[in-house]
Symmetry: C2
Subunit: 355 residues, 2 copies
């Protein structure tokens, strides 16, 4: 069966402000030192699908920049533009309808645009297993074998433990846990991190939409009817914003019964905030991840990113220091999540020039 | 008796890097928000001496910039240029010889260029007392009544305690103490901070040079002989660098017997490093001294100085954050002294563009 790749690239990644901006979201940043995150995501999927069988779904305001950024891999029409951000279910349903129109039946491999994966070969092998499982009609997700008691990820409890490479049933979706809970999961075994990657047949996911998200299904069907007609843009612009905003996890995965998970072990990180750059970049002997120049004395476990000016640092540890053209960020590493709050504050104050 | 003012402005103030640079030393910075430190020092002395009776002694490389910076107060010839930095004794001896040539006898009031003084009226009153004491022939210094057990200043132990405004004998010069020692001084009483300000008659200080620093005296006399002749520049350039490099405290004050001190209480700080800006600038309700713009969340007791870009800070305390055109500094407040080490390292690495 033919396999399509779908990259969900609608996020803004506000926790990477001031690097990420309204028109340069996280997936368009080169955080790994190799390529833009979205291009890394695309390149990884080319081992699973053909180059012309990859779609990227992104927001209207990011579409042009996304097309330019991915031009070395993709044609402009491979970038689908959402008229409004309506969460992952809408994004996935939209892509599924488009692909059904194009080829009827096929397997869809859905991944986020902004994760880090260390071992591409292992990633592709895991997806091969997932594709085979999906061909049988299941909704398949990829679970990451936990390496530490993470509190920033959701967990999947699965039948028969977390060992081995084969697909297995998911017994429960678990919300981001407390540290204590996360430690329990790790010692109990049988838990995997929810990576937000999915594999299924077009028919299987659309059937799930019909059953669990009928309102979304109805609107997406209307949009599909207009696909390829002169009214397509107009109809999409009008109807897409009406799709209920819900995540595919909450809207479908937690409700459906035929859910399988394939465990993966390929050095995955969601690179959710600046502190996570340590997982993605090599640190110096004092644990500092330095992108740019550090003139330091007694600097430990810092993340330092400067585009233009060297950073002289003395007697500091566990800090994130980021310089951009128009603003500086100095943040305690364990507060890296709160970068979002600065962005929210700037937005509420109308500081458009910094957003 | 006529009174002259002499401002010693030869320092570099490397602890204020990256604001202070080779050609913009600390005394040419506006750290108080009112004026350049050297202009503040000049303006304060105008209550003690006439405007045309003030000299500033500075290094060769800083002379042009100093003349431009002080032009609103002083004529170019009031800026004396040292061919080489030879510490405070040389600087004071040079000024004394120049003044003797000009008017024979007078009182000299010598102050550093880079201190902060809150209460100018009180400062002038203290100096009046010191001038009267100096007219009797003593070498007079100004001691500051300590307000906390400072470890960054030298102390003067004086006869009859530290109370009252009258001049009194200095019993001992004490080096910068440990915190424990400093606390002892404070509870014992009778100790004053050494401010590095001096008042004496020209004849008294030159006599002290002849007695305690005969080598320096000899060279300064040779230079004085050439004063006003066609050879002046050449002789000064040749001989000045040969003057032994010694501080006036160590070379004269600690050895001479006719030393008096006048206690002062005018909100003095040597503004020795970034952490001291808290003494000079008003802090916000969280103890932050902000020069520029702070976009903050949970920021406490920081010193933030940015010329161009706002600083977004989250969850940090006791930091110094300074932005200039070409470099950033992020430094633990209690390590502010070590900014000098970064400067030394840059010098040893030949990073001229950052010095």
């Amino acid at each position: 069966m033919k396999t399509f790749g779908v990259i969900m690239a609608g996020g803004s990644g506000e926790r990477f402000w001031p690097l990420s901006r309204r028109d340069t979201p996280k997936q368009l940043l080169n955080l790994t030192g190799r390529d833009l995150l979205v291009n890394e995501a695309a390149e990884r999927l080319f081992g699973v699908c053909e180059r012309e069988d990859l779609l990227i779904v992104t927001g209207k305001s990011q579409t042009e920049k996304m097309r330019a950024a991915t031009a070395k891999y993709l044609k402009a029409e491979q970038i689908l533009s959402e008229p409004a951000a309506r969460n992952t279910a809408a994004c996935i349903g939209y892509a599924a309808m488009k692909l059904q129109k194009r080829c009827g039946e096929a397997v869809m491999v859905v991944t986020p645009a902004d994760a880090y994966i260390k071992d591409t070969e292992s990633f592709r092998k895991t997806l091969e297993t997932a594709v085979k499982a999906a061909e049988g009609g299941a909704l398949v997700t990829v679970g990451i074998r936990p390496t530490f008691p993470a509190t920033g990820y959701g967990y999947l409890r699965c039948e028969g433990g977390e060992k081995g490479d084969a697909a297995r049933k998911v017994l429960q979706f678990v919300e981001k846990p407390s540290l204590e809970r996360a430690q329990e999961y790790l010692s109990a075994g049988g838990y995997l991190w929810n990576s937000g990657m999915f594999v299924w047949k077009i028919s299987a996911i659309l059937q799930a939409f019909r059953r669990y998200l009928p309102e979304a299904y109805k609107i997406l069907s209307e949009i599909a009817k207009a696909d390829g007609t002169a009214e397509e843009r107009e109809v999409t612009e009008k109807l897409y914003p009406l799709i209920p905003s819900v995540s595919v996890d909450y809207g479908i995965m937690e409700k459906a019964e035929n859910i399988l998970v394939v465990p993966g072990d390929f050095g995955w990180s969601d690179v959710g905030s600046f502190d996570m750059l340590s997982a993605v970049r090599e640190a110096d002997e004092k644990g500092n991840v330095v992108i740019g120049e550090l003139l330091g004395a007694d600097v430990e476990n810092c993340v330092i990113y400067n585009r233009q000016k060297p950073v002289a640092a003395i007697g500091v540890k566990d800090l994130v220091i980021v310089e951009t053209d128009d603003v500086l960020l100095v943040c305690a590493k364990d507060r890296a999540q709160d970068v979002k709050k600065i962005v929210e504050k700037l937005r509420s104050e109308g500081r458009e020039e910094l957003l």
